[in-house]
């Protein structure tokens, strides 16, 4: 029989600590598939965040470093500049990237660092038990916003991809959703493009993956994907916001 789907080689053959149905697992698979497809496992170096993905180094079968909270783009910068032939990716959550690490990501993009950032936006601080993030939707409940995020008090959620797309050093910026077979297929293409941008020396690349946190959202895994499609995508539109071919372009 012909194999239609095989487990990516760049993943270690072990169980993860992620909750059942958590889309961090899907994001890991897509990154590993891109590394496999581009044949760069020997050159790949990942940088893990603080957040639920802190143990990513145990799940990918390539070199890895773990960074202090929000500092993955700075650590990735150091790795890429000292080993220019490496293929460097930072893997970050929304609390890590958009909150404590907001300065690092903006400046890495500004400098046009040749790194690829996988930004897992699940609109919450997952690891620490469901606190409000800068990306939490207005009205969405969190342990620190028991009545839902209030715009008057906390402002509107940060659209990271749109913000970074205004920076000239950002060569590729796209937002995808890990919420259905079709969207996961598009996410795979975008993640691959992010790595291809780096390989071509094009500059900074980031793929924002709208993701679920079934545990802290208090939903089943499938229900969480439906919630993502109905609530997150209207506020966080999918598409490519910046491409190496030039300028902003909504797809």
């Amino acid at each position: 029989m012909k194999q239609v789907y095989s487990v990516p080689k760049s993943l270690q053959p072990r169980s993860t600590h992620y909750c059942p149905g958590c889309t961090h697992g899907i994001a890991h698979k897509l990154v590993a598939e891109a590394i496999d497809d581009l044949g760069v496992r020997d050159r790949a170096i990942g940088v893990a965040p603080v957040g639920c993905a802190v143990f990513a180094y145990d799940y990918f079968d390539c070199d890895f470093q773990q960074a202090a909270h929000g500092r993955a783009p700075a650590v990735a910068t150091g790795i890429k500049r000292s080993v220019p032939d490496s293929v460097v990716f930072a893997y970050q959550g929304d609390g890590d990237l958009a909150s404590i690490g907001a300065a690092e990501i903006v400046h890495a993009a500004m400098r046009g660092e040749r790194i690829t950032v996988i930004f897992v936006n699940n609109a919450i601080y997952g690891m620490t038990g469901g606190q409000m993030a800068p990306t939490t939707l207005v009205g969405q409940k969190a342990t620190t916003a028991p009545f839902g995020r209030q715009k008057e008090h906390c402002g509107s959620p940060l659209r990271v991809s749109e913000m970074l797309a205004t920076i000239p050093g950002a060569a590729y910026v796209a937002r995808v959703a890990l919420s259905s077979p079709g969207n996961v297929a598009k996410a795979k293409t975008a993640i691959r493009k992010g790595f291809e941008t780096q390989l071509a020396g094009g500059g900074f690349s980031l793929v924002e993956c709208l993701s679920t946190c079934p545990t802290n959202w208090g939903m089943g895994p499938y229900e969480a994907m439906r919630w993502l499609e109905e609530n997150m995508i209207p506020y966080y539109p999918l598409g490519e916001f910046r491409t190496p071919e030039g300028g902003q372009n909504d797809a």
């Binding site: 239609v4 169980s15 499938y222």
Partner: protein
Amino acid sequence: MTKVVFDEEKCKGCELCVQFCPRKVIVMADRINAKGYHPAVLADEENCISCGICARMCPDAVIEVFKP
């Protein structure tokens, strides 16, 4: 060999494969694995179209798919 192979001990019983299978041929087994989850199994091989959707949506890299 069956069209859909599950690495049963890695399954966390999330049921995403069950939900997204276009032919509704995956079910949760009555037995439990070492983690304590009911693992997903292929219940109706004949009607499986080897589309790979279950494998693509599985967050835990449990599934591999083959086409005759």
